[in-house]
Symmetry: C2
Subunit: 148 residues, 2 copies
DNA sequence: CTAGATGGTCAAGGGGATTGACCATCCTGT
DNA sequence: ACAGGATGGTCAATCCCCTTGACCATCTAG
């Protein structure tokens, strides 16, 4: 019985995540970046601070290095990222965002904020804060897998 | 400022959804259903009450009718569902779960409950309840899109 | 300085989605 | 009652992205 109640959380969270991804993706397209998929955005998240290696992107996305490498190829072709030689490790390469990549990241942040904004009215500030705290306390593995 | 704080919700929810899908999928495999993917499970959700048409499954999953039809083909081949003629509409077909399909659905429910159980200790019963209420109040479109 | 671990790419193959064409049946208006 | 459109579904071809497998270069430990 609590069983039943507890498990209903799962579809709620999954449905919310689905809607969220779609809203952010749509928002990013509306802002003029119509040649990328959500998976690219997830890669940007990992790239944003200081760049990352292909292997790290692969781990973050939960795909093989080869798949991540192809994804980076595409992002290079479209001008969002650059492959630079790694400063200290000659076999490694550092993938970093270009100016266009940063612009797209900002657009995604805006779109995410837009998607979440109406929540404040529905739930109230306090609940929003608690919600964030609760979620943070659960399993934030940090990984975001674009494909199920 | 509140901008930044609000938007941090998005990665939290997406990360949680990612972990959740993986946990449930692993749980289902552990229970002996190792020939299906999460997307199949999402179809089961829509199928569970009284069956559904291919078009409804497609809408639920956010894919084309053709893709849903192929997915149903596969589930039929593996013994999880059956295509039956629709009782009142001769062009339509009703896809319903077989006994094996129901067994798998129960396994998924158990796996979901397992995944959520530790949360009660982390958050407490009250917070769990509030969390569920909050989530329900947000955008439960009900759609679950397996592929981003 | 060899041996293995690690970062990355190239190439081939496959699974699952999409687009497009098509058929059968239902429904609506005249 | 029946023409015309909407709806439910399938077949076929193609495409996109991911995976497996082989391979090279460099780093690191004994």
């Amino acid at each position: 019985m609590t069983e039943n109640a507890d498990s209903s959380l799962v579809p709620l969270i999954l449905g919310l995540a689905t809607d969220l991804v779609q809203a952010v993706d749509a928002g990013v397209r509306d802002r003029g970046f119509d040649d990328i998929r959500p998976a690219h955005g997830f890669a940007f998240v990992r790239l944003a601070p200081d760049g990352a290696g292909v292997g790290e992107i692969a781990a973050h996305l939960g795909v093989t290095k080869q798949a991540a490498s192809q994804l980076v190829d595409e992002l290079v072709r479209k001008g969002y990222v650059e492959r630079r030689p790694h400063p200290t490790d000659a076999r490694a390469r550092l993938v970093v965002l270009t100016e266009r990549g940063w612009a797209c990241t900002r657009a995604a942040d805006e779109a995410a904020a837009d998607a979440v904004r109406p929540w404040a009215e529905l739930l109230g500030e306090r609940r929003i804060r608690e919600l964030r705290e609760d979620l943070a306390r659960l399993g934030p593995s940090g990984r975001i897998r674009p494909v199920w």
